[in-house]
């Protein structure tokens, strides 16, 4: 995907394989910011089903073998984006090259959204409008009917989303290339301090300002659905807060009451089900999807199966997580059960 000379012809081949004609591709350029996937942007004109379309599009593809930070499936991501796009502010997925026969690597073509990265937007415009916008984005994601989502999307086998996530914490602690007693402590602590349950719903699993844009209307746009599952939607709120500790500011902290009120209004959750203490519980629980992928990448590197600076760099950042999780369990023990 980095070969600027070849890529217009490859994109043309993908479009023609999907029944498009009169295809013209130009302005192909590599994008930064897609930390787990290769990203590029280009202009295209093509005719499909008798209608001619011109626009700017994004190509999102797998890195070369052995360099992937996390291992995810482009077909599932493509299906998820198409399923959630009617409900959520997100650029739709248009075409898929699952095998990489046209693009040279597994890739999907997505509509381009003329929007700005969230953190620079906050620097220029302030944060005051975003707690409500974030509640509306999270609420929209978390109220998508499960039956509208791809059947292949992972979900808890017995409906116990918390139990499933806690099991992942245990498995990550037990299966890594070395023992991880902090992970084991967190797994046991989470199991001993479960909050009131909510119905299963859509979980983005990398719900952070890094995967949001702000469009021209000032609305938040969700992107990057490669880690999505069905589970406890509050995992996204916890993950958002965890990520915001590492990459501030925390939009929720700008007005937590307003955020929670609007989020409860959209989702129908009660104050017992979503409150500041519960969000902090999920701050710990909700990171495990991404953390397991990062630790797995580091484990593969330790076994000599892969290797890149990005893998080592991102696994190293789990050190920050370990300190944050332990601090959160300390702070919440008293709040959730008055001791132990």
């Amino acid at each position: 995907m980095d070969d600027l000379a070849q890529m217009p012809a490859r994109v043309t081949a993908l479009l023609e394989a999907n029944g498009c004609s009169n295809v013209a591709v130009d302005g192909y350029e590599v994008m930064t910011g897609g930390y787990s996937r290769l990203m590029a942007k280009f202009n295209a004109t093509f005719t499909q089903d008798g209608a001619t379309e011109s626009g700017t599009y994004v190509l999102r593809g797998d890195p070369p073998e052995g360099q992937a930070l996390i291992d995810t499936d482009r077909t599932q991501e493509f299906d998820v984006i198409q399923a959630v796009a009617p409900y959520v502010n997100t650029p739709n997925a248009r075409f898929l090259d699952a095998s990489g026969e046209h693009i040279g690597t597994g890739a999907l073509m997505i509509d381009f959204t003329p929007a700005e990265s969230t953190l620079p937007w906050i620097e220029a415009n302030g944060i005051s409008t975003l707690p409500i916008k974030l509640a509306e984005l999270a609420g929209a994601l978390h109220t998508i009917p499960i039956e509208a989502l791809p059947a292949a999307l992972p979900q808890p086998a017995d409906g116990d989303a918390l139990g499933d996530q806690i099991a992942v914490w245990h498995a990550t602690a037990d299966d890594h290339v070395e023992a991880l007693p902090i992970f084991k402590y967190v797994a046991c602590w989470l199991d001993a301090h479960r909050p009131a349950p909510v119905p299963l719903g859509f979980v983005h699993h990398d719900f952070s300002t890094a995967n949001m844009l702000v469009d021209r209307q000032g609305d938040l746009v969700a992107i990057d659905f490669e880690l999505a599952t069905i589970g406890d939607p509050r995992e996204d709120l916890g993950y958002f807060k965890a990520y915001s500790q590492a990459a501030p500011p925390d939009i929720i902290d700008a007005d937590p009451d307003a955020f929670l009120a609007r989020y409860r209004e959209i989702t129908g959750y009660t104050e017992d089900q979503v409150n500041p203490a519960v969000m902090t519980y999920f701050l710990v629980l909700g990171v495990i999807g991404v953390v397991t992928q990062l630790m797995g990448g580091g484990g593969a590197m330790a076994r000599g199966e892969s290797g890149s600076t990005n893998i080592a760099y991102n696994m190293d950042n789990c050190l920050f997580g370990q300190a944050a999780w332990m601090a959160a369990t300390d702070a919440l023990t008293a709040a959730l059960d008055g001791g132990s």
Partner: protein
């Protein structure tokens, strides 16, 4: 062997040169991000190289004392050998944590958490100030 300048001094000098000499000549955004990640990792590796055998050895002794484990008689200080002993101690600590929670033994949970707190202190010294690069 020539032991000085030390490993951490050499790694820090490499990180300095990467930023001051190499990075200004790098034009691509992806390569700039990578160079900055390498600089951060190199400085972390410098701090880790300076202390990791000492820290692991201290932690092993603390875990042995807390769990009443018999110390491993091996006295090799080669990194792989220390890593093996550290991994065995960490596994024993993980098992003890799970058992303490299952028994709802809050005293033992608190005792083991104190061991983890020292591990976190060491990890934070390796990490230094966190400044994420490469994400939007």
């Amino acid at each position: 062997m020539l032991s000085r300048p030390t490993t951490d001094q050499v790694l820090n000098a490499m990180a300095d040169d990467l930023i001051a000499v190499v990075l200004p000549h790098v034009s691509g955004e992806a390569a700039k991000v990578l160079a900055t990640q390498i600089e951060q990792l190199t400085r972390r590796l410098a701090r880790r190289a300076a202390h990791e055998i000492g820290w692991m050895t201290e932690e092993i002794a603390a875990i042995d004392a807390a769990l009443d484990r018999t110390p491993d008689p091996t006295n090799s200080w080669h990194l792989e050998d220390v890593l093996d002993r550290y991994s065995a101690a960490s596994t024993a600590l993980s098992d003890a944590i799970a058992e303490a929670f299952a028994d709802e033994d809050t005293d033992r949970v608190a005792q083991y958490k104190a061991l983890l707190a020292q591990r976190v202190v060491n990890e934070q010294e390796v990490l230094g100030a966190l400044e994420l690069v490469g994400r939007g």
